[in-house]
Assembly symmetry: C2
Homo-oligomer: 219 residues x 2
Amino acid sequence: MISKTVENYLKNIFLLSENNKVVTTNEISKKLKIKASSASDMLKKLKDKGLLNYEKYNGVSLTVKGKKIATTIVRKHRLWETFLVKKLNFKWDEVHEVAEQLEHIDSEKLVSLLDNYLGYPEFDPHGDPIPNTHGTFPKTNSIAINKLKINEKGTVMGVLQDNKEFLMFLNKIGLNIGSFIQVKNILKFDDSIEIKINKKEYLITLELARNILVKKEEN
Amino acid sequence: MISKTVENYLKNIFLLSENNKVVTTNEISKKLKIKASSASDMLKKLKDKGLLNYEKYNGVSLTVKGKKIATTIVRKHRLWETFLVKKLNFKWDEVHEVAEQLEHIDSEKLVSLLDNYLGYPEFDPHGDPIPNTHGTFPKTNSIAINKLKINEKGTVMGVLQDNKEFLMFLNKIGLNIGSFIQVKNILKFDDSIEIKINKKEYLITLELARNILVKKEEN
DNA sequence: ATATCAAATTAAGAATCCATAATAATATCA
DNA sequence: TGATATTATTATGGATTCTTAATTTGATAT
């Protein structure tokens, strides 16, 4: 039986490794809010279990086996978030902590009945894609706001972060899934970006922009 | 923060202490499927935390504080079982293991929204009463089958056990919530009981009978 | 009352996962 | 390139919760 702790390591390594890039011990320890030494310790064990590729000082990447487990945790997390928002009327920026717990419930039957109950959703309330039983993610053509050029427009499709502060800020400036936005300016000074939402303009940091996905308007 | 393990000790001590009777170390270790020595160890710690009354060799009972925690776990367990059966279409004898996990999810908001979503049910799919937010159980006038005299009749209101084998046996003999039963005979030889369900007669053990609740037919 | 048996407790230690502190490897930059 | 900063690793140990084995307590029956 695989522990909740191991599941969390795998899930977070998966989330940190966009484009299959190698993930460092430090990144992991920050994400999991533990010391790097603890992470180092665990990485060795996970390697021994065949869950990740790891050579000392060179960071890690998931094996097929590790990625499979990580994907099911992500799937469960996002299905539960969808349930919490769609069925129980949680707000989208309130669900993360609870889903962090629910994602570790171990029952294939539960997950598949839940998926069915929700109508096999492809995206969670944050716009993040939900992998299916086989671990396959739905296709998207979204890009992060910081990839847009000045004057380009798009529709907000999702976010890459579950962080509460982040989500509350988006709420505050009226930026939701489906919002229509336009990049008005990009400040070289600090890489921040001016965007227009509902006729109002806001300045957001690169860090924020990197975490908001839009479907670019073709024209 | 209170651990899942502690929650399980408290819940099971609560379930073992009908009529506030004292619970023994052995009973606890059997219920939790651990060695008596482990239980003994833990009981000392729970006493120190003010969760139960415990004098060596004299068994335990929950303090008010311990009972409060136990009740919220029972509440969560039964609400989740109700959800699984009513919303996700689990069978009533399939929900126990999953509910054992779900009961430890820590979020008051989740529990109260779930309760609301289910329409504030008073009984779970096994007929067990669900305590409200304040820990109060709904009133019932049910009694166990072994308390009935020969020829007395009743309607099955619930069971006192979540054990899978037990529930599957009940299913097999067609005994469900709402079934109408009559005690035909009580064998002094081994305390077993002959009951009639749907025109058929079955012999059940005292142990079984003790765990099936009926509302006695007044006549 | 004492022998005997069952129940409960204690002591020692294993597994898991975290931390602190010391050390080693790698990266950076003048 | 060599000094220094950053990042990663190892060694050691603590908390939690379990086990086994030895011991103590309590209950029962003659």
